[in-house]
Point group: none
Chain length 401, copies 2
């Protein structure tokens, strides 16, 4: 019996409400100048007050030392073992642009690239062409039909695109055309089993057509495809937790991840204020809310320590908008750390704060990495957070008699 089976067997619907506030890239490491992390630097009186009434800890999204991508980081927070529930690269890219994959669709992540006269790849990203240029090129490639299969091409950002193959009897069991290096030709796409040979043929013919269409253009005169995959089919949070769950996120990727586990996606604006307003307006209709805050991660990725601190303080100022709704359980955490010093996701454990009337406060009075070390939850896998939230919402029955 795996953990989801156990929780599914024990969970029951009730009127209590859970809010999961995900501060993307929450954790940090100390700024060498001050020896303080972003959280330790930020003034967060509202979070600290909630900490004093809650229970804290640190979470490993995947495992010690493993740096999570956004998808596994979030799946873990939703209670899904991220090593079991994996999403293919193409499907993830489609999620990231709010493209609804249909059940038989095969999606691939694509790059516009540059090849020389001998067909050797000289730049896998075609000089990171502007998004507007990519939009135009995608229109040239969109809608081609090969052997009854329609190929839908959507731009992502700069050189990135998604290719969706729509038709009957398609397979994702084919290799990449992207060689992942320069100085070589794009690879022929190969079937990984007999059933996939038609798919390999169609994708190779599509790539050849794309090359013909793009010939002579500079710098984007070719495409590379990788990560052919289907829409993931995961059990829904309604099934597992008996929750009526809603997601509030300003970025499509996180809405897509939430949709993958069966959440309703609430229309919201582009700011944290918009997101909290959306929460307030929909508070009665759902018993679980996932709210995603992107700003912290973006600042961390940019290596902007002070902007990350400011984002944390911004969230803190808005926190009363959330607490005054009086959800039964509030979880504040991140999907991974994004230390500004590292300018990217990292393996460092992520602070977790859980508040409910029934938690066992631990004496921690500050929401920081260092303070959370001594928290009552200890260091836990991120996939354990949802069972703890469910328990604190009194939504889990006893195991055994």
């Amino acid at each position: 019996m795996d953990n989801l089976d156990l929780i599914k067997a024990l969970s029951r619907a009730s009127a209590s409400k859970i809010v999961l506030l995900v501060i993307d890239g929450l954790g940090g490491i100390p700024n060498p100048d001050t020896a303080k992390t972003e959280l330790e630097t930020a003034r967060t009186p509202n979070l600290d007050a909630l900490v004093a009434r809650g229970i804290c800890g640190l979470s490993d999204p995947i495992g010690p030392g493993i740096t999570p991508g956004s998808a596994p980081g979030h799946l873990a927070l939703f209670g899904y073992d991220p090593l079991t529930f994996q999403i293919g690269r193409g499907a993830l890219e489609a999620l990231g642009i709010d493209f609804d994959l249909e059940p038989g669709d095969i999606a691939a992540r694509g790059n516009f690239c540059t090849i020389d006269k001998d067909g050797l790849v000289t730049d896998r990203r075609a000089g990171r062409i502007p998004t507007e240029e990519s939009n135009r090129l995608c229109q040239l490639l969109d809608g081609i039909e090969i052997d009854g299969v329609r190929i839908i091409i959507r731009p992502v950002k700069e050189h990135r695109l998604v290719a969706i193959f729509r038709g009957d009897g398609l397979s994702a069991d084919i290799s990449d055309s992207d060689p992942q290096q320069t100085g070589v030709t794009a690879r022929d796409i190969a079937a990984l089993n007999q059933q996939a040979s038609r798919m390999a043929d169609i994708t190779n013919r599509f790539v050849a057509r794309a090359k013909e269409i793009l010939v002579g253009r500079q710098p984007a005169n070719m495409i590379l495809l990788r990560g052919f995959s289907k829409k993931p089919r995961f059990p829904s949070m309604t099934d597992i937790y008996k929750l009526k769950a809603a997601a509030i996120a300003t970025y499509p990727m996180y809405r897509g991840l939430a949709k993958t586990v069966g959440m309703d996606i609430l229309k919201t604006g582009q700011t944290m204020e918009d997101e909290l307003l959306t929460l307030k307006q929909n508070f009665k209709q759902y018993d679980f809310f996932f709210i995603h805050i992107k700003e912290t991660d973006a600042a961390g990725e940019d290596g902007d320590f002070n902007r990350k601190v400011a984002s944390l303080e911004h969230i803190d100022r808005l926190l009363p908008e959330l607490t005054r709704l009086e959800p039964d359980v509030i979880v504040v955490t991140g999907d991974h750390s994004t230390p500004a010093i590292l300018k990217g996701h990292s393996w460092h454990p992520v602070p977790v704060l859980l508040y409910s009337s029934y938690c066992r406060p631990d004496g921690v009075g500050r929401f920081s990495e260092k303070a959370c070390i001594t928290g009552g939850s200890g260091k836990i896998p991120a996939a354990d957070i949802m069972p703890l939230a469910m328990a604190n919402a009194l939504k889990l029955d006893k195991f055994g008699a």
Copy 2:
């Protein structure tokens, strides 16, 4: 996907360097007279200074309550699940005397023993005969050939020996002759499956020959064999971690364990000073070093609390020789605890200190069991230490996108 597969998929070669300093038997328990452990008693200013810049915790080599032998203790530190990667007793004994087992060889651990006129074992260790005596007896038994199989006999220490069976088509699937008790005869060796029947026959004939040769000698007039096993075939650290790894150890057993996971073995002397000189001389050639310090464990095994304290202080004085090489990651830990009070290995968790520029210091300022309880790494399985070291050396890619 198990943990080694995951790490193998994410690891990449880079110029950064990791040093794993293993202080054998590091952990202790308090001396009843002072209520302080060996580490708490020792003056260790250099370790304490490194702790202040690093992150600490405690590790369970195998699991809570389980006392590790040296082999599983080290395999865990190298990142190999010690319950999955096991080494047979005979093969381990061969490792312990620097004997290079060939792929088809079968090794057994042997004891010289004493039997009475009825063939009943009266002393399983032949009064722990001196090593010199054992050396002479081993020469009498060495080199016998039976049915095309050559039997190589090597002395270990006192009554201990290794028997290596070398020839075609041998099997390790046979039972022990050692009855593990006195007052009974040595057991006939039995084949555990049909393919092993020739091997059982050969080993029984060898034991009979040994008995003939030793007849009339006192007290060692017979041998007992156990733990027939092959050289272990484990994935190498080069494969898993993409590391160019080297081992520095004064005792053959630890060199053997390192060789088993594909490390190069560096020639060194008999002292800690020799080991650190070897590190310095080879520092440019490798990106991973395992340094093994034996003195602490030996003192613990002897029940000599003060000598263990002195060994810890000795290591501390030499630590600057290591830190001044400026490895990117330094891990200081042990393969298990060896409390002097217990005169042997124990189950107590082992202090772990990890330093890198990218670790998240935890406010711990002293390298001791008690201080490490509040460390930022928390309590972790020892097999998680390598992934953490790899992450801190920026040698692990992100999992998922």
